[in-house]
């Protein structure tokens, strides 16, 4: 047993000795690196070293939590936390932390991401690729981000585990003109197959196509969604599958288990698989993570649970526990049977969106929302891109959009971007019919 696992276990034992009923402690040693760039130059390079133990404990169904960063006063912190639990209020719905001992898959973390050599080199590669597409007048900005975490988890209820988690992401937005831009991302859990040029090329290709945009027209369109913008939708839909979101009515999936929410060919999963930036072998209760099918052939199959929410819904945890409530880790869509170009050919007159931001809801339970596509927006006629457009907004409804999905491409991309496509996903091109588009007047 490693020294850190011993120290994490000591926290659990201390809390138990003071009278806690159940305790989970998770220690994370994280190294995070980021390069931010704009106008083709590096603005700042950032390094965070973070040493933290998250502790959640329950005493007579009073649930309290803390983060310990000063390891000189661990006992005092735990004593304080238990004192807080004793004056706190009972949560009758608390169903305990996960019980049992589990075997975990082997961690896939890439040790090269512990100390990333030459992070700026990856940025230069991406900028160069965008420039190759657009020419020397391109203006590119974005980030390179890497993480390496050593994670040690001990629960008084049995789970005990060690994991290492790594990720690297390059996000680049290239401008060919003031109002013509494209966005590309390259995301992975390891350096293997990480190709920053791919993101730069994609950003540059879209930026080049997006030149001379005209203001688009309001209406109802068939729309091809690029994997990046469809990843934003998947992030919203996946988050709405969290049982906590269901309980606070922050979801269109309330009371819809077992019901049809999408066409038969639509299957959506949550899976923190080896390739994913969210890869992990256990959740925050120490339950092994797994693939969960959220929508199976159009039918809503499950919500995402921790132990407590699972008891409320009379089911089992899905291995999605966060410190407080369950979350999706990585959304996957089963691929379709068309190639990207075949999917475009299905569009007689429609739009192609490549990215979006600022998705906001009028009502999460009903699913009414709007979001603002950015970067390349294109008019598509007879499967061909005819005109670059700008200044449009999607003003629609989640359930309508889910039900109006017509096709997915065979090609899928692992995407993540800022807070807009988060959690990450494995996302195809998607064709959705009858999407409502509005604009400023």
């Amino acid at each position: 047993m490693s020294d850190m696992l011993n120290k994490t276990e000591a926290i659990v034992k201390k809390a138990k000795s003071l009278g806690a009923d159940e305790v989970v402690a998770k220690t994370t040693f994280g190294k995070y690196r980021q390069v931010r760039f704009s106008n083709n130059q590096v603005d700042i390079t950032v390094a965070w070293n973070d040493y933290v133990t998250d502790v959640a404990l329950a005493w007579k169904k009073r649930v309290v939590a803390t983060q310990i960063r000063n390891f000189q006063n661990v006992d005092a912190n735990i004593e304080k936390l238990l004192k807080l639990a004793k004056v706190s209020k009972e949560n009758p719905m608390f169903g305990g932390f996960a019980k049992g001992s589990f075997k975990y898959a082997k961690s896939n973390a890439d040790k090269k991401l512990q100390n990333l050599e030459d992070p700026i080199g990856y940025v230069s590669e991406a900028i160069g690729a965008a420039e190759k597409e657009v020419g020397s007048r391109v203006e590119s900005g974005g980030i390179l981000f890497s993480k390496f975490e050593d994670v040690y988890l001990v629960s008084s209820e049995g789970p005990i585990g060690v994991d290492s988690r790594s990720a690297i992401e390059l996000s680049i937005r290239a401008f060919s003109e003031r109002e013509a831009s494209g966005h590309g991302v390259e995301c992975s859990s390891s350096l293997k197959d990480f190709n920053p040029s791919r993101a730069g090329t994609k950003a540059g290709e879209i930026a080049k196509l997006a030149k001379n945009p005209k203001v688009g027209e309001e209406g109802v369109y068939d729309v091809v969604f690029d994997p990046l913008i469809f990843g934003s939708s998947l992030a919203v839909w996946g988050s709405m599958a969290s049982a906590f979101r269901i309980m606070i009515q922050f979801s269109v999936f309330v009371d819809k288990l077992g019901q049809k929410v999408a066409p038969e060919f639509v299957t959506v999963k949550d899976n923190p698989a080896a390739y994913s930036m969210s890869n992990r072998v256990f959740d925050d209760e120490g339950v092994p993570t797994r693939e969960n099918v959220i929508i199976d052939c159009g039918i809503l199959k499950t919500y995402l649970h921790n132990t407590s929410t699972a008891k409320i819904f009379k089911t089992e945890t899905t291995g999605n526990a966060g410190l407080v409530f369950p979350n999706p880790w990585n959304i996957e869509v089963e691929p379709g049977n068309m190639r990207k170009d075949e999917l475009f050919k299905e569009v007689k007159r429609g739009l192609y969106f490549t990215n979006t931001w600022y998705t906001r809801f009028q009502n999460y339970a009903r699913g009414d929302f709007s979001t603002i596509p950015r970067d390349g927006i294109f008019l598509v006629e007879k499967g061909e891109i005819k005109q670059s457009l700008k200044d449009l907004r999607i003003s629609d409804n989640v359930l309508n959009m889910l039900n109006n999905i017509v096709a997915f491409s065979k090609e899928r991309q692992h995407v993540h971007w800022w807070g807009e496509a988060d959690p990450p996903s494995l996302s195809p091109y998607a064709l959705i019919k009858n999407v409502h588009i509005t604009k400023s007047r």
Partner: protein, 472 residues
């Protein structure tokens, strides 16, 4: 917080011959209470303490942070930041606008110290609100509430002689309610924020506001009619005025956006050199003056010195309808040949300070709210909003009304269901022909930065009247 280590880190950097260095330490005691339908889900209590270094070497910036308080760690992160700064290899070298070193201490006082309020009292305050809400006669389907308390100590030093200590207590509360009537639902959220002590809780009138919201949502379901789309007058209530000021004035006036430093994430601005809009360009009618002011006492966005040690002051962003002054930190100010106006903020020691708003609001006029309404033949009064967004150049925006009423011949009529204004920044502010004298503020968390940094702000203003805009 160990000030000796902070001073040690700065000395270490200075010996390395850097062009500029600063060390910013922050220690915050944080509490979060999360309740679902009146049940306390979790009570989180934690202390976070650490420091960062930011330096300029060879015209590049390096930044590194840690929460390990040792001299060895200080050296390690300083060396890392220096390595990164030198590696940037920029053609255009970064410099900071001139500032004199400042030695000072600033503190936000608490009338009722948060430290003296027991956890039981804090919990009871929120449970009682939920009880009042669920017994107000409206069918409440679900509630979620969250209280966030931060007691933050800061210590900032830089290589130009600044040495600033601060203590800032902040308290925030967030509520989400879902009303269900006649098989339909409506939702609303409400946020409160304050710099100071627990006295905030009594100033907010939370119970009254949430019960009002619940009744408004019920009326939207049971009484509201859809407005016939068309050109009409629109009166924006203080909440709508505030969000518009924040989104279509505050954000586009951030100089880092204008210069492209946020081009990939938060975006650029419709204001840029060589474009249609710059300082001196008209963006609204004469009666539109919008300020950003961090010095409003006890405001959620309050600070006396920013996170680069620059003294805070009021900034007039749009003045009488004309673009007047950008929000600057020292880096953007140097690029545009001016001085910082203290807009550099960071949420914690492990985040870079970037250009941010504080409390952004439309300056009040001299009309009453009634006078604004009286002069409208046909239109909508949008008192509050639900869905909203704006594009990343901050020009095309949309606000959907939550509490709204039809106005006919100068009188308020029935509630209107979700009226929408979707228009440009120029059309919005140009259409304003009257401004009321009642100035009110709302609390919000402004998002920007990568990794995201949600900073506490006020949005605010009086009621404003827009003539002949398209409402649907």
């Amino acid at each position: 917080m160990n000030e000796d280590i902070v001073d040690y880190a700065l000395n270490y950097a200075q010996k390395k011959g850097v062009e500029y260095a600063e060390v910013r330490a922050q220690s915050q005691t944080e509490e979060v209470l999360l309740l679902r339908s009146g049940i306390l889900e979790t009570y989180v209590s934690a202390v976070d303490s650490g420091f960062c270094v930011r330096l300029i070497a060879n015209g590049g910036i390096g930044f590194a942070s840690t929460n390990k308080w040792t001299k060895e760690e200080a050296k390690e992160i300083m060396d890392l930041a220096l390595k990164y700064a030198r590696a940037a290899n920029r053609k255009e070298k970064i410099t900071f606008a001139e500032e004199k070193g400042v030695e000072t201490k600033w503190v936000v006082n608490q009338k009722k110290k948060i430290e003296d309020v027991s956890p039981e009292e804090k919990i009871a305050s929120f449970v009682d609100i939920d009880k009042a809400l669920t017994s107000c006669g409206v069918k409440i389907a679900a509630t979620m509430s969250q209280c966030t308390i931060n007691l933050t100590s800061k210590y900032y030093v830089n290589s130009e002689g600044s040495r600033i200590s601060a203590f800032v207590p902040k308290i925030g509360a967030f509520f989400l309610i879902t009303v269900a009537e006649q098989g339909k639902t409506e939702q609303a959220y409400e946020q409160f924020g304050y710099s100071g002590g627990w006295e905030a809780f009594h100033k907010w009138n939370v119970e009254e506001k949430l019960i009002h919201n619940a009744k408004v949502l019920r009326d939207v379901i049971t009484k509201a009619k859809v407005v016939k789309p068309g050109t009409m007058d629109l009166i924006c209530g203080t909440e709508v005025t505030g969000i518009a000021a924040h989104e279509s004035c505050g954000h586009p006036m951030e100089a880092d956006r204008i210069l492209g430093r946020e081009m990939s994430q938060a975006g650029r601005s419709f204001i840029y050199k060589g474009g249609q809009f710059w300082i001196g360009s008209r963006i609204g009618s004469d009666c539109v003056t919008i300020a950003d002011d961090p010095t409003i006492e006890n405001s959620y966005g309050y600070f006396a010195y920013d996170d680069e040690g620059v003294k805070a002051r009021r900034r007039f962003l749009y003045k009488n309808g004309v673009i007047n002054e950008f929000l600057h930190n020292r880096e953007t100010a140097a690029k545009l040949g001016t001085r910082s106006n203290a807009s550099s903020r960071s949420i914690n020691y492990d985040r870079e300070a970037i250009v941010r708003m504080s409390n952004t609001f439309v300056m009040p006029g001299d009309a009453t709210e009634e006078e604004l309404i009286k002069d409208v033949k046909y239109g909508v009064y949008m008192k509050s909003f639900t869905e909203w967004n704006i594009d990343d150049k901050r020009f095309n925006q949309r606000y959907v009304g939550r509490e709204a009423y039809l106005i006919e011949n100068g009188e308020l009529k029935h509630p209107v269901a979700r009226p929408v204004i979707e228009t440009t920044t120029l059309k919005f502010w140009t259409a304003v022909d009257a401004v009321s004298k009642n100035l009110e503020f709302d609390s919000a968390t402004c998002g920007k930065g990568d990794p995201a940094q949600g900073v506490p702000v006020y949005t605010g203003g009086p009621c404003i009247r827009l003539r002949e805009v398209y409402v649907k």
